[in-house]
C-alpha cells in the first residue's frame, strides 16, 4: 500500500461502506449470481449460479472461451449490470440494495474497468481520458490535471499525454485505459481480456503492468480472458464454461518473464 491521498471529493457511499465493509473480509463476493438473457423464446444463461470470494490484493484470473460468460460476470461484479438472481458484493456492500445513482458511484470510485478494445473517448487526449472520471467525481481542475499526469507517468506514458487515441498504438491506448481505471483510486480493477487486442509482446507488457500495480499498490485484480500467460502472474485461476465455474486452482503468482 502506498500512502496515496484520497483525491475524491465527496463519496455518497462512504458511510454505507464504512458501516458494511467491516463486516466482510472479502473485497468482492458473489453468491448464486445468475444472469439470464431472453432472446425471443430462448433463454440464454450467460452466468449461472456463480459463487465467488475474492481477497483484498488478490490477482484473480478467470479463463474461458468466448461466450462462456466472463464479460457478463465482470459487469455484474462491477455494478454495470444487474443479476437476474443472486447477489454481488463490492467491499462488503450488497449491490442489490443500491439505486441507480449509487451504482454509478460504485463504478466511479470503487472499481475500475479495463476493456479489450480500450474504450477510450476518441475525441479526448490521453490526459483528457484520464481526467474524465476525475471530472465526473468533481475533482477540482488542477488536482485532476496533476493526478492524470502522475498516473500517465506511472503507466509509462508521461510523454504522450497530449495525443488522442488514434495517434497511439494499441499498447499505449491500453496503458491510458489502465491509468484511467486508476483515476479515482479504486481498490479493485476489473479487466476484460486486456490483452485480447494486442500482439504477444505488448500483451505481455500489459500483463506485467497489471501485476506490478497489484504488487506495489495492493490493488485487487479480476482479469478475465483466454491468454494462458495470465495464469503465470495469477494468485488464483478459475476456469469458466457455459456460465459456470468448472475448476479452480492456484496460479503461478510470479512475474512474467519475457
Amino acid at each position: 500500500m502506498t500512502g496515496e491521498q484520497p483525491i475524491q471529493s465527496e463519496d455518497t457511499l462512504t458511510s454505507l461502506f464504512d458501516y458494511q465493509s467491516r463486516t466482510s473480509e472479502f473485497i468482492i463476493e458473489a453468491s448464486k449470481l445468475s444472469k439470464t438473457y431472453q432472446m425471443g423464446s430462448v433463454e440464454v444463461h450467460a452466468v449461472r449460479g456463480v459463487d465467488l470470494q475474492v481477497r483484498r490484493g488478490e490477482f484473480l484470473v478467470i479463463l474461458g472461451v468466448s461466450g462462456s460468460g466472463k464479460s457478463t460476470l465482470l459487469h455484474l461484479l462491477g455494478a454495470l449490470d444487474q443479476p437476474t438472481e443472486g447477489k454481488a458484493y463490492v467491499e462488503g456492500l450488497d449491490l442489490s440494495t443500491l439505486d441507480h445513482n449509487q451504482l454509478a458511484d460504485v463504478r466511479l470510485r470503487r472499481v475500475g474497468f479495463v476493456f479489450q478494445f480500450f474504450n477510450l473517448m476518441p475525441q479526448l487526449t490521453a490526459q483528457g481520458n484520464v481526467e474524465l472520471p476525475l471530472k465526473f467525481a468533481d475533482v477540482p481542475a488542477e488536482n485532476a490535471h496533476g493526478r492524470a499526469r502522475e498516473l500517465l507517468t506511472r503507466v509509462g506514458l508521461g510523454e504522450r499525454r497530449t495525443h488522442v487515441p488514434s495517434e497511439l498504438s494499441g499498447g499505449e491506448q491500453q496503458r491510458v485505459a489502465i491509468a484511467r481505471a486508476l483515476a479515482n483510486n479504486p481498490r479493485i480493477i476489473l479487466a476484460d481480456e486486456p490483452t485480447g487486442n494486442l500482439d504477444t509482446k505488448t500483451g505481455a507488457e500489459i500483463i506485467q503492468l497489471l501485476r506490478n500495480l497489484n504488487q506495489t499498490q495492493g490493488l485487487t485484480f479480476i482479469v478475465v480472458g483466454h491468454d494462458r500467460r495470465l495464469t503465470t502472474v495469477a494468485d488464483r485461476v478459475i476456469e469458466m464454461r457455459d456460465g459456470e465455474f468448472v475448476s479452480e486452482r492456484e496460479g503461478g503468482g510470479e512475474e512474467l518473464v519475457q
Binding site: 454495470l80 463504478r107 474497468f113 479526448l124 465526473f136 468533481d138 479515482n184
Partner: protein
Amino acid sequence: MKFRNILGLSWTNMRRRKTRTALTTLGIVVGIMAVVSISALSGGFEAQITDQLTQGLDMDILTVLPGGGILGGGGLTTLHMNDTVVIQNITGVEATLGFSQSGTTVYNETDGTLDTRIVGLNFTDLEATYGHRLRFADGGFPDSGSNDSCIIGYLEDPIAAVGDNVTTEILVRVGFTFVYVNVSFIVSGVLEEVGSSGMLPFDRSVFIPLDTYQTLFNSESIDMILARIADPTQADAIAEEISTAFEDQVLVIVPTAIINTVMGVFDIMEVFLLAIASIALLVAGISILNIMLVSVMERTREIGIMKALGAKDRTILSQFLSEAVLLGIIGGIFGIIIGWVLAYGMGLALPLLFSGGMTGGFVGGDGNGFGGFGGSSNFTLVPVLPLETIFIAICFAVLISVIFAIYPARKAAKLDPVKALRYE
C-alpha cells in the same frame, strides 16, 4: 459533474464534428436570421414612418371635412365659414381656420412662373391657428381689410419679393362659359420654410384673403376647417364632440388615428412575418431533434464508456442538453449577425427600389402633402435592433434547441451501459 466541465466536453464534441455542428445550427441560424432581420427592418420602418407622420401631421390639429362616415356618403356637402363658430365654441378648441384651395399657376413678370396652389383664408385665423409656427423671411401679414394682398410660402427659387406684384390666372365661370381671368396680388410677406404640415401645406403655396378667393371662384363654401386644440391627448374626445355638434354630418380626422392605423397595418405585417419565421425555427428544432438522435446512436459506445466510468444518467443528460445550449447560442449569435447584415443591406436597397412609388404614392401624395416622405430625396431605412430583441432572439434559439434536444438527451441518458458497450 461540474457544469463547466460538461460544457467543456460538449465544446470538444462539437469541434470534433465541425461540419455536423454547422449543419445542426444552420436551421437555428436561418430562423433567427429571419426573425432578427424582419423585426429590425419593420422596427426601422416603423420608426421612420412614425417620425415622418408625427413631423408631417400636427398632432394638435384636427381636420374637419364635409360629409359623415368614412367617405362622406350623405352628410353635409359643404362647409361654410359660420361652421367655424360651432367648432370654436367647443371646449378645448383654441382656434379654427377655414380655407379653400385650388391648383393654379402664378407668375411674376420678371422671375417666371410657378405651378402652385392658391389658398383662401382669413389671415387673422391663420395667425391664431398657426401663428406660433410661421416665420416670415420677409414682410408680414397684410393689413386687415386689404383684399389684394398675398403671402407666399417658401420657395427654393423665390419668384417674388415683398412689394412685388404677382399674377395668377384663374379659370372662372361666367354664366355658362369658363374664362381665364388674370388677378394680381401684392406680396406682403414671404414665409420661411415650414416643411410638411398636415392638411395645409405652406411651402410653395400662395395665400390670399378668403373673401377675395370666394369672390374670384364665385363660391360661398370652404373646403375644410382646421381646429387647433389645447391638449392633443384629448383629440379623440374633441373630435367626437365636433362630430356630434354637426349631427355626424362631418368627417373629423384625428392625426393620432392616422398613425395608429398605419402602425396597425405594420403590426399585422410583423405578426405575419414572425409567424413565418417561427415556422423556420420549428423546422430548425425538428432538424436538431433529428441530428441529435443520429448523434446519440453514433455515440452509443461513448455513452456506455462514460457510464462504465461512473457517469450518472443526469451527467449524460446534461451533456447533450449543454450541447444544445451551445448550439442555440452559436446559432443565435450567427443568426443575429447575419440577420442584422441582411436587414442593413435591405434597408439600403429597399428605398432605391421603391423611391419612385413610395414618395408620391403614400398618403395622397401631393408633392408636399402629408409630409409624404419628405419630397422623395432622403428616405433612408435604418434597421432598428434593440438589445432586448438580441436577448430574446438568443433565448429563443437556446430554448428551441434545448426543447428539441430533450428527447434525444433522455434517450442517451437511459441507455443501458452494457448494451451500449457491446454496441458496434
